[in-house]
Symmetry: D2
Subunit: 347 residues, 4 copies
């Protein structure tokens, strides 16, 4: 059975494992202070182009979000997020576990926050005579791509940043699948843009071809001072930090990160086009490695022994929307096979 | 320069990296539910021999301690620990970060808690008329080996467990370097003993030849129910959990874990004997991979360009105690070289 | 200017202050262990009729909710509440501050949760294949009266309790204005019913004629063990606990609590009938001491120098819904005056 | 039986209850924004003389300490305190409950921190190469009088403040019994000194003749911004805040606070002198309302039906140190009676 259920079912790209193997017995510094982490930081800075940014390496995405909330928010503040945001739904209450409310704003199938919406919400908070008794908006969380595979344009991000500056709170971007956003045909943002248009963002490795790891980029110096102690306190400081350095160095020294992400996007486009060609529609149009076709339950049943996917939501008595996810490792032949089997199953 | 500063400066044993490389593109389940984790659990169970135990895999030691505190303690309870315990000193307040006080009891250079001491402390708590206003002892934390490289005997552990049972609180053993305890010449405990004499313990991988990873063993069914949600909430659930499974499977399927630990111990014994032969004493006698020689500052200065170590404490105007730490990867020739250079420096 | 803005603008009923004055220099036990607290417990038990219940006295409502969340919830659990619930909106994130998410369910103008809605939500949680990554529903919070002044019927409460029992989680009722529920003409619940149909509830004093204070009733023995330590830890243990005992003894020894609540309800009914007689409608029909008339902005402006109230929500360009709140101390003549002035203003 | 066990066994001074009674039905603002709180602030400012200070009113001391920790400390920081400090021993882990370690420094029977000791401790923290893995000292907590009834001199406080400024962390003084410090014969500090020599301190009401209540004075503007939201979040915002305003206005408008404290001190001095005259010694010399005589157990047994006190510590097989505590309400005749009975019991 082949799985399109997610993009973290495999291990890591071979070049990463080769470098880990090559250096297996080499001694280095620990806890993220070592030559590999330095090299990784430099490689990322080639694209980031923001010498003021501090770059730290963490193991996982929920961990990173939890630590950023701890770093940024005052006790009475909350994190503004789309209702469908990962922090609001799929982290077992990690943000709340640090003492902070996720302030969930409604969103449509795109899963995006708009600048106008955020502005109106924060304005409403301060207009309320009982604001003092309500959780103060302390940061804005977005992810790019979103949970639903859509991406932010430079215009949208610029507007969101302006609203955050108006209210003097930071904009944080979860980039668990950032590579797939930056290499999407629909994208007009660069890494250097993110170095200016966000206060903090992270470059996801786990879902983009690394074994694990996320590179947290703190652009705003106001949030740089205490980071390592807080990372340690919340269990996020990897003893052999070099493992993160090695991975991000491999991913960024020659653009492998983007190659792998583009590859995943390409497979998704082929799947999307094939599915469209068979006459099926989609819950939402996405330009990245997650697609959301609406398929007859009958057809899904026929495919269910050979492929797996994520159930997304019911559409009507006879149709479901599912999520198909490609990765850096999805074989092109499996995409072909799936489309062929889907065509057969739909007959 | 060669470092004896710690046992996590290197990467991992080759067999681990080979298996990771071999399986780099293989799809499996995620979040610790996969065939490698299952195989690792079975391999550990061969030694553990406790079918009631639940085994979970986490990334790091401080993370594991933080999550166990969250799992076990009621809000008003604290964790009893030796004052020198890792949770009390070197985790940036991770336990307190989860809302719980570390109840630090005094200890000598051995760094151990005694059953009598714990019993007296808890008795004192309940005898105090203001107990209700004081943090209730909710668990006992020990590490084996301790921070100071000493180990618990079966007799000592049996007595500690009896005290914990008397007061109806769990005994938790931090086994960051457990292999070095179990393979010490002075040891009389087995993995199966730990499956009976502790409520929860962890088998350290990070310091014992893995890239990273700790295997948490929850023997007491009372603490098994909610574990995965709490692990997720605190950022401890690795997406590609198989990486932990692969490592612990490699370490335990044929006894590699013990081999690597014994190797580290052996190098420490050779260092210890060589240092003794040169006429130097030790802060504390230890039977594991950490040793604490007392050396003239003058001698240390002479060695300082070629070797590194951890400063432990000052002894007098002319002497310091240092920690030398060996690992699974310490080359025998570096031990020889160090001893030769030490002899030379002491002349 | 006279205020109908809330029911905690005044001090306390004279009988309470007389008893405090009479006993000002009398020595008693502290921290809620004294003869006045005992007497108050006995007086409440006359109505409660549940010898298994433990009764504790706290200072305020948000404090009580925060401490109950701490007491009841496991780290990964959240509190199910109507979106309009006080814990979700007006406690500055106190529940999240203890590490727990408020799981807000949509509600209409009644502000109530239904058993079917709670059942469906919890069912949905466990049906989701990612339940482990989502906050587990750990308790159900309702308030009676609700934030919107409506009340639960015995039938509704019985059904909610059954759903909670089905899922094995406790039902907690916030009774900040409980007296106004129990003495409402529309009510069919008794204090003894609450002793059976909730796991925990509190009898509000602050808004019902006391200086301050809430009597927390823990019916379910499973939640009784650690309460006093947790109350102390969260800053909720009043040194001179007798002040709470004195107040609840005065309120419950001869039914003063119900008298004061009924008085407040009666004033609200007179206001309501008077406003209806003038031809105005209401946002929601309520049978307690909060009413929500919809009035022309023009009329409100004319009244605004002489009376104050709470703005509730805009209705259309020319109308707002406001909240008028009566209390144990609202003079009947102020109700008359308001109605006369409203009639005049509406001309 | 008469109790010298503590100074919060009685109610409150009559003038407080008279004013509460007089204003029982008067409407005012809520949550600490009302004319009584304003008047109380002005009355305190007469002595404080620091127009930059913000003054807030809270219900209890542990609550105040918990909220100040929440306000001041970053997540990875701890509160430096004498080991005998109230926050370290008698608050059920309230500080840890907010996520912060109490960094307990050893102290003698005086229960005081010295500037040199704090400086050395903080210096040691930053000198340690693993500082990043250790809890960062984030504030210094002292109480005046201390838990042991001793007081700080102006010189000592000035030095402590200088050390705090050197390390750029705030000095916080718990003044649960502040009146007894300021009116002690041994005191050379004024309220105005505290407005300059501390960043934050509180003026205790509960133990000094109020029903309850502590006036928190935030001298340092850096900690003033978010206070009310944090106070609300932690359950510390009293709905009828005027009750606190009324009390502190009564206590400070004409110096009643100092009168009551001096009265308590005077009774303690008479007890102390009488006990000395009978030939008994003291565990520690104190100049406030707590005294710690060392008495034969045999004598204590004889007195035990007629008086109560707090057991402090055992001295030898035949002697215990006890704490005798006087209050604003201790009748002079009970002091006489105790001394006469002690003389008789010692025969």
């Amino acid at each position: 059975m082949y799985s399109f259920a997610n993009d973290y079912s495999e291990g890591a790209h071979e070049s990463i494992l080769e470098e880990m193997t090559r250096t297996a017995r080499r001694q280095t510094g620990c806890y993220g202070i070592d030559e590999y982490c330095d090299a990784a930081r430099q490689a990322i800075q080639k694209d980031l182009q923001n010498p003021e940014s501090a770059i730290h390496f963490l193991v996982g995405g929920s961990q990173t979000n939890m630590i950023v909330a701890t770093l940024v928010l005052r006790p009475h503040q909350g994190m503004v997020s789309a209702a469908s945001g990962h922090v609001n739904v799929h982290e077992s209450g990690a943000i709340e576990g640090t003492g902070h409310k996720v302030l969930a704003l409604p969103c449509d199938e795109q899963g995006k926050l708009t600048a106008a919406q955020v502005d109106e919400y924060i304005q409403g908070h301060y207009d309320d005579s009982t604001a003092e008794h309500m959780v103060q908006p302390g940061m804005v969380y977005i992810s790019n791509p979103t949970e639903n595979g859509t991406i932010y344009t430079k215009q949208e991000l610029t507007e969101l940043k302006a609203v955050c500056e108006k209210w003097n709170i930071p904009l944080y971007m979860d980039g668990a699948r950032l590579g797939c956003a930056l290499t999407s045909h629909a994208n007009d943002l660069t890494m250097a843009d993110l170095g200016k248009l966000t206060d903090i963002f992270y470059i996801g490795g786990t879902k983009m071809g690394a074994l694990f790891g996320e590179a947290l980029v703190i652009n705003n110096p106001a949030y740089q001072a205490d980071f390592r102690s807080i990372m340690k306190q919340r269990g996020g400081m990897l003893a052999k930090g070099k493992l993160l350095g090695i991975q991000f160095h491999q991913l960024f020294k020659d653009g492998l990160y983007y190659e792998l992400a583009k590859y995943a996007n390409d497979q998704a486009r082929r799947l999307e086009q094939g599915i469209k060609a068979l006459g099926y529609g989609f819950l939402v149009e996405t330009p990245t490695n997650q697609i959301f076709p609406i398929l007859p339950k009958k057809v899904l049943e026929r495919l269910s022994g050979r492929y797996s996917w994520s159930f997304w939501c019911g559409i009507d008595a006879e149709h479901d929307a599912i999520r198909l996810c490609t990765s850096w490792a999805t074989p092109a032949e499996m995409v072909e096979a799936f489309l062929a089997d889907l065509a057969e199953a739909g007959k």
